[in-house]
Symmetry: C2
Subunit: 425 residues, 2 copies
């Protein structure tokens, strides 16, 4: 049931998919040794080719700066020698992970003697559509190859020079270590039509992972005819309970909102329990740090008037700002906070700051998000922080993978059944 | 991002979904004790109300028999006291399973002291569209409630009287044991428009499981805007190797093809290694048992001419007969058999009959299906046989669940993160 091409771009895309399929078939036959060698070769090549990578990156940075890209986005786009070394470090972490393929998840011998084993196997051909952070290219390739998958990459157009060079460097490196170059396939040259063609690549692609904002996720979930796991949309809430420690609350809120604003695990809405003792200090600290509060009336009474304190509207509850803005709403009860979260959350990460074990337990039980955090920053929802080495994305879907997707999330299983002439009575 | 209704049927369906959502929220708060009590109450109610269930079933059987339904399909439709007792037995097996909810899948304390636990939680609201076997209704409700989910049921129209009574009996039973009646919601009265409305019920339904033939699966995968796991399409292959034991091969092939023909794990194509010693006896036994062989030229030479041996066409390789027909193709190598399977299989179950450990290993490694069987009947790919108590369906998809779907496959996970003022450096 392979989709048939109807446009030249589909013809080209499906041909690349079939080459990736061949590479995936051969990858599925490799041992950990071969796949780990490919990761090591990738790391060595990134160091050896750092100059040419940085040169290409400088072109992207120059073009986008001239085109008026904001400073934080340019910073995300920029590679440096230090950042390349950090990429190599995370390659090493992924390489050192246990082999995710060939693990026996369940197994038993049935009363009739039939032997059952459920073993992990690669998913096959994975496609990722992601934003303009070139380091993501390396992370995704590392996770895909470690788990025995071929991968198709469509990066942000702002990073096109960098990604073109990176993909070429990685293809050469894996080929030299005995893995097909076509296990790593770039799609940037196919443009937006290439993304559209991916949506219809049924049978050619086993999993499409869009990593990005609401508009990309909406398009993919509406239009894709291939299996999809949506990642990266984070309308993240923090609840400030009565009795919460003031110093901790201030520190966690500043970290969650301001440490890095353009990321999916940054806080976007603060829900303040009416009467929470730490609220005034927390709101003041946020304003002092440069955060603009979109606050309801009761919250505005807790903080000195300022151009950085504005009235909240309904739209604020729905907004993933990805900048130095924060919605603030006052609630009368934890139940009301949970109801707000159920209505507006994207299911990524929510946190509570509380000194009550009972409220912490209630919150973790009732809030239905990929990560539910007590007394810590929401910024921890991250494959690297969780010890996965890196992440393909952070799933906000419920099927197959939820939260940071590492190598285990890029496998599926099959049942191996072995008998000796067994028939069903 | 709840889909908004645009037709009266959608308005009614989405309203039922929201009632099911409320029931699911409350179910997620229940302990195993409550959910097990609901399963026990279901079993008792099925026994107590057997007469009224059988009466409704007699109406379905009578109407469909008059309408010309084939004898095997009428047999699938028919309930008897014995079949009701068997249903209650499988309810008991499901009830005795370990609680699939609240299990810690992974967990660790990070070097910084942050505590991580990945725990299983119910999926939420599940919808099933299935064929005219009323026992499936009971199996699905049992698995859904055991795993803390609410369930929407759309059965085959041929079983409508039976399903209406069954669902009413089950709703009453669970309500008396403290679970919301709306954890079990019938959709048969909404007709085909109700199925179409389900496809668009984004946000209202967490998982749609179509269980049935190629046409249903094709429609769902083309049209559904809700997460889907396709189940039940089984173009099942058996490879007969050289050196395979003749008596075993005959017995397994007869079992896989003829024991029950209308099921997804029955064999549909036999791939004979050229020169396989057991082939003549196996083909003869199949013909003698009433099987019509659609055989290629070399295979036809192995068996006496008969009206039950006809030439195979390309179409035969693609056909899931679900009757007493079997495609037979001769291959020169195991590689050729695997290539045929890759091209034509639906990814359900494939088996090899062999005396070679090397070929058995190669087959299990290279064939990429939900179940890969050595020297046993393909009929074992079944939730009951695998010890899952029952099954919601047999997934031929790769994401989330593959093969028989029991209670574990109806859960997802969330990460619980607990700190003491942790912030990200």
């Amino acid at each position: 049931m392979l989709a048939q091409p109807t446009t030249p771009v589909e013809t080209e895309l499906f041909a690349r998919c079939e080459r990736a399929r061949g590479a995936a078939d051969r990858l599925a036959e490799t041992t950990r040794e071969t796949r780990d060698a490919a990761l090591q070769a990738m790391g060595e090549a990134l160091i050896a080719k750092a100059a040419v990578i940085l040169e290409a990156n400088a072109l992207d940075v120059e073009r986008e700066t001239a085109a008026g890209m904001s400073a934080p986005l340019v910073d995300r786009l920029r590679l440096t020698e230090e950042r390349i070394r950090a990429l190599v470090d995370s390659l090493e972490v992924v390489r050192a992970l246990e082999d995710p393929v060939g693990r026996v998840r369940r197994g038993s011998t049935l009363p009739n003697g039939l032997r059952l084993r459920q073993v992990t196997v690669p998913l096959g051909v994975i496609a990722c559509v992601y934003e303009a952070r070139p380091n993501v290219t390396v992370d995704i390739v590392a996770l895909a190859l470690k788990s025995g998958n071929a991968v198709l990459l469509r990066g942000g157009s702002a990073a096109r020079e960098t990604n073109t060079v990176l993909i070429e460097v990685l293809r050469q490196a894996v080929a030299e270590s005995g893995v097909d170059a076509d296990a790593v396939v770039g799609l940037d040259d196919l443009g937006r039509d290439g993304v559209q063609a991916l949506f219809g690549a049924r049978g050619h692609v086993d999993l499409l992972i869009p990593r990005g904002g609401r508009e990309l996720i909406r398009r993919v979930t509406e239009e894709a005819r291939v299996p999809v796991i949506a990642t990266g949309e984070g309308n993240v809430h923090i609840v400030l309970d009565r009795g919460a420690d003031e110093a901790q609350a201030v520190e966690i809120l500043l970290n969650a909102k301001t440490q890095r604003t353009g990321v999916c695990n940054a806080a976007e809405t603060l829900l303040v329990l009416d009467g929470a003792e730490a609220a005034p200090a927390a709101l003041r600290a946020l304003v002092d740090a440069g955060v603009t509060l979109h606050a309801d009336e009761r919250a505005r009474e807790l903080v000195a008037a300022s151009e950085r304190v504005v009235p909240a509207t309904e739209e604020d509850w729905e907004t993933e700002y990805l900048n130095m803005d924060l919605a603030v709403r006052t609630v009368d009860s934890l139940e009301e906070a949970i109801a707000h979260i159920r209505r507006y959350s994207t299911g990524h990460t929510e946190a509570i700051l509380t000194d009550s074990t009972r409220n912490a337990e209630l919150f973790q039980r009732r809030v239905d998000s990929a990560a539910v955090v007590v007394n810590a920053s929401t910024r921890f929802t991250d494959g690297g922080q969780f010890g996965l080495g890196a992440e393909v994305g952070i799933s906000t879907d419920r099927l197959h993978a939820r939260g940071p997707m590492g190598v285990d999330e890029l496998t599926t299983t099959k049942w191996l059944v072995t008998g000796d002439g067994h028939v069903r009575p």
